[in-house]
Amino acid sequence: MKQAHCIYQNDDHRWLAIARDASKPGYLIDTNEYVVMDGDQALLCDPGGIEIFPAVFSALSAECDPTTLAGIFASHQDPDIISSLALWLEFKPDLKCYTSWLWQSFLPHFGGSESTFVPIPDPGMTIRLGSLELQAIPAHYLHSSGNHHLYDPKAKILFSGDVGAALLPPDQGGLYVEDFTRHIRHAEGFHKRWMGSDRAKRDWCERVSRLDIDMMVPQHGAIYQGADVQRFINWFAALEVGVLRG
């Protein structure tokens, strides 16, 4: 059963990780959802698929008043990211969904109307939440052709969508990366196969290296902290991507 863990708190500025669900059916890829809260406003990052909506909703509700949800940030268009959209709108019809302009006319197939979507331009944008100024950071072609990550400069947290994802065995169910070398083995195949562009990857590595990051929180697998963040960026920069095998 999913549970919300508080991974950052400074007064009423909080980050929740709804992570690692051992009880979900094996045919569904395991996902992490994140909630950024400031004051009486909350933003849900990559809310997940239809099948896991009840688990995510109840985990979120246990830690945060769901009526304070002001928006949804969708890093890209995949079903494991955003196919639950209609259900969140069922609960709160005036929710805004921030997503790349590229997916603006695709995501309504999952739900919502014209007024639901706030298109993020290719260079990214600022998303205001309470007193926070969250930054949508471009991560195009990693893996989706219209893809953004979300950076919170105050909490120094980077939500990195599928980048940093690891498909971990059940015995490595911890919330945080404990042994980088052991962990990254489970990320390698995924990044080689899913990340399509070497140039986009180098651009991203340069871009995020300039950010001050304490925690990098991916949509699958464990959270990178401290020195593991730069370790990951270096590892990714050196990795050959866009290959079927090898």
């Binding site: 099948e51 259900l87 709160k92």
Partner: protein
């Protein structure tokens, strides 16, 4: 907590979709039969012309049967419009039922105390009631249209029976005219059976 409870799919509306499929199939078969009647009537008109004075009455009835086939085709076209509209309404109901069921499951997991859930459920129930209302109205219109078509087909049956009587006066052409009028009676009986099936279908199960 073990594996999450399997999400319930609303089988009721799925069966409503199956019902629309059955209605459409029945409509298609009636349209095909109406086309056949039209051709049969054309042949009968030529046959009556060849039979001359002996088959004047038969000729008039054949013309009437042809008009009947054209009216029937028009009726079926409007029935088809209704059912294609109902696919949209049923899909709306299916989606709303599915969303409401999943939301209910989420609320059960979270407990009733979560703010906003009562309003969300109320909104969902309201939308569902509206969509069901639309579907019910469509169902009534469909049934009324089927009844109207049944009356038209009764008239077709009378024409076929009269044609049979007229065929008896066809002199040397009598056996051929008799065969044609028997064929008319058979296809009209077939349409009657199809309409009976249609009349029993319900787009909304109460």
């Amino acid at each position: 907590m073990n594996a999450p409870e399997k999400l319930k799919t609303p089988s009721r509306s799925a069966s409503e979709l199956t019902c629309i499929v059955r209605v459409n199939e029945e409509i298609k078969s009636i349209v095909a039969t109406a086309f056949r009647i039209n051709l049969m009537a054309l042949n009968a008109i030529f046959l009556a012309k060849r039979a001359g004075n002996a088959a004047l009455g038969f000729g008039v009835l054949s013309n009437e049967l042809r008009r009947f086939a054209q009216d029937l085709t028009r009726h079926m076209a409007s029935l088809r419009d209704m059912t294609s509209g109902s696919v949209g309404s049923v899909t709306g109901v299916v989606q709303q039922q599915r969303n409401s069921a999943i939301l209910l499951q989420a609320i059960r997991l979270s407990g009733d105390g979560v703010p906003g859930v009562r309003e969300a459920r109320k909104r969902g129930a309201q939308r569902l009631a509206e969509q069901h209302g639309r579907l019910r109205a469509l169902d009534q219109r469909l049934r009324a249209a089927v009844e109207e078509t049944q009356q038209l087909v009764e008239l077709g049956g009378v024409l076929a029976r009269s044609a049979k009587i007229e065929a008896a006066y066809g002199g040397g052409f009598s056996p051929a005219l008799m065969q044609v009028s028997t064929d008319f009676a058979e296809v009209i009986a077939q349409i009657k059976r199809s309409l009976e099936v249609l009349g029993k279908e319900r787009l909304v199960k109460d």
